[in-house]
């Protein structure tokens, strides 16, 4: 029986064949390559906040514009650990507003997915749906969404509905366009292979087109989260008396710069967490795509 030469065996076998693996123990360079980035990041950020603190304490810039790092952290701690007493008209607590914004963002994103994913798939799968919808999709996708905020305030007032509508409009197009592109770029040879092995039309969609498109949809959702976060903050800055956007506006109005910087920091953390989550989701759902890119 013919066997293949050794060069044909790749990484998988190298990892699974015990005779080819030797235990090297931990060397300094391996410890560093694993934990080094964390150490650098922690030192880096600590240095950043220390420099900020020193710079603010030197009094070079009016604390109204640049509060000290310590007073920002104080405002952050206070804002996250307190909630508004029952019956309060407006809250000064970051926790309350963070919850409010995240809730609207999640509802908006959920609606955007429910509309955007099927619409994108349909546009990719049916040329008539594509022909009919594409001019509107491109028009609305290219329009800066902020230009629509006054219109929706006019329609819906300073309400939660208005804010969620803005999130949906911000997030739905990247999701839709990515799903559409995924269907359109499905590899022809995969479709041919499925046909040869007996795929019906619906099999082609469920067993080839959809799995192929899934990572596209996830990167659409990733972009949608970024856009949706912008949408929710803009909608709250424009109107309403709730949410992190409102808190930024209010802290500016009341010259409470420590609170404003604390909210900005919260926004950075929220945004990074959400992006990291979708990256993890992508690596989990479509490891093959991640590996292709490496």
């Amino acid at each position: 029986m013919a066997t293949l030469d050794d060069s044909d065996r790749t990484s998988v076998e190298a990892h699974t064949d015990p005779s080819r693996i030797q235990d090297t123990g931990w060397t300094m360079s391996e410890v560093w390559s694993r934990y080094g980035p964390w150490v650098v990041t922690i030192v880096n950020l600590t240095a950043f906040f220390c420099l900020w603190q020193l710079f603010a304490m030197s009094g070079a810039i009016n604390p109204l514009f640049l509060p000290s790092a310590s007073s920002m952290f104080e405002a952050l701690w206070h804002g996250l650990t307190t909630t508004a007493p029952p019956g309060a008209v407006v809250s000064g607590s970051i926790a309350d507003h963070l919850f409010y914004s995240l809730r609207n963002l999640s509802i908006g994103l959920a609606i955007a997915c429910v509309i955007g994913i099927p619409a994108g798939l349909l546009m990719g799968g049916n040329k008539y749906v594509e022909m009919i919808l594409s001019p509107y999709v491109w028009a609305l996708a290219s329009l800066p969404r902020i230009a629509l905020v006054p219109l929706f305030i006019l329609f819906l007032g300073f309400t939660v509905k208005m804010q969620i509508t803005i999130v949906v409009l911000s997030a739905v197009f990247p999701i839709m366009i990515n799903a559409w592109a995924g269907v359109k770029t499905t590899e022809k040879s995969l479709l041919a292979a499925a046909k040869v092995f007996g795929a019906s039309r619906s099999d082609l969609y469920t067993k080839v087109v959809f799995p192929y498109t899934l990572p596209f949809i996830i990167s659409g959702v990733q972009q949608g989260i970024g856009r949706g976060l912008i949408g929710v903050i803009i909608a709250e800055i424009f109107g309403g008396s709730n949410g992190l956007g409102y808190l930024i506006r209010r802290s500016a109005d009341t010259f409470n710069s420590s609170l404003m910087y604390a909210v900005l920091l919260v926004l950075v953390i929220v945004s990074l967490t959400l992006i990291q989550f979708t990256r993890w989701l992508e690596a989990y759902v479509a490891p093959w795509r991640h590996m292709d890119r490496l």
Partner: protein, 284 residues
């Protein structure tokens, strides 16, 4: 030559009396519509070819000569414009479980493991097999292509040669009468390629399948084929059918050392040369 002895090794012989035709192409003309240019292009014209059970037929010809179109017509992916193509006595109306196919770019589903890719034909067509039978076959064919232990690996974790062995296992798992292969080893490095050729010869010797195989390599054609069909440039027509009477298994007999091998190779090269030059010059 040890032809008779070698022939006896395989289950059926194309030249033997009472050979049963499996694929019959009569006056087959196929083409494509080029919608943008409002033209239609004839890819193959008037192909008359009968392929018998257990035969290994190799198609060679310049790029764009319609070899792939012919295999697609057998697979049921394209419809004839004129003439007929029959498989097991019935005109081809679409793909079926009696035909399996191996693709040049492997065409494995990247989101499926080796095992799941090999199992895919069972999910797409009902072959009236019990679950145990399916599992057993998936295991058997993964073993046949020497990939036991890689069942849970994803295609991106495998080398080109290993990916194509998954492709071969997937094509064989439904035990089709006919194995179609469209330049299956074109993207595989030379050393692995030679090993894969010898393995393919072994697989089909075991299963007794009819194989229609496309290649650009004359060496590959002569080393694998019982017959080599030389197709001319666009629109593709059969220029000559060359019988390759070399003993099998070809790799065991080291047929490349035989003088007949060189003669056959040279003969096919002469047939293909003019066509290849024409393609290279871009003559329509």
């Amino acid at each position: 030559m040890k032809v008779a002895e070698a022939k006896a090794l395989s289950e059926s012989s194309p030249a033997a009396d009472g050979a049963t035709p499996v694929i019959v192409s009569k006056g087959l003309t196929v083409g494509y519509k080029l919608h943008r240019e409002r033209k239609q292009l004839t890819a193959l014209r008037n192909i008359n070819l009968t392929i018998n059970r257990g035969e290994f037929v190799v198609l060679v010809g310049p790029s764009g000569c319609g070899k792939t179109t012919f295999i697609n017509a057998i697979a049921g992916l394209v419809e004839p414009w004129e003439g007929t193509i029959e498989v097991n006595g019935r005109p081809v109306t679409g793909p079926g479980p009696d035909r399996g196919m191996v693709f040049q770019d492997y065409a494995l589903m990247p989101w499926r493991t080796v095992e799941s890719n090999v199992r895919m034909p069972f999910e797409l067509q009902n072959l009236n097999l019990s679950k145990e039978e399916m599992n057993e076959r998936v295991r058997r064919y993964i073993k046949l292509v020497d990939l036991s232990g890689f069942e849970k690996s994803y295609p991106y974790e495998l080398s080109g040669g290993m990916k194509q062995r998954v492709g071969i296992a997937r094509a064989l798992v439904s035990e089709p009468d006919i194995l179609l292969a469209d330049e299956p080893f074109a993207a595989i490095d030379a050393m692995t390629r030679e090993a894969m050729q010898s393995e393919l010869e072994r697989f089909v010797a075991n299963t007794g399948q009819t194989v229609v195989f496309i290649t650009h390599s004359i060496d590959e054609a002569v080393i694998l084929g019982d017959r080599v069909v030389v197709i001319s440039y666009r629109p593709g027509q059969i220029k000559e059918v060359v019988d390759v009477n070399l003993p099998r298994p070809r790799f065991d007999y080291d047929v490349k050392m035989l003088p007949e091998y060189g003669e056959m190779r040279d003969h096919i090269w002469r047939l293909v040369k003019d066509e290849a030059l024409q393609t290279a010059r871009g003559v329509q």
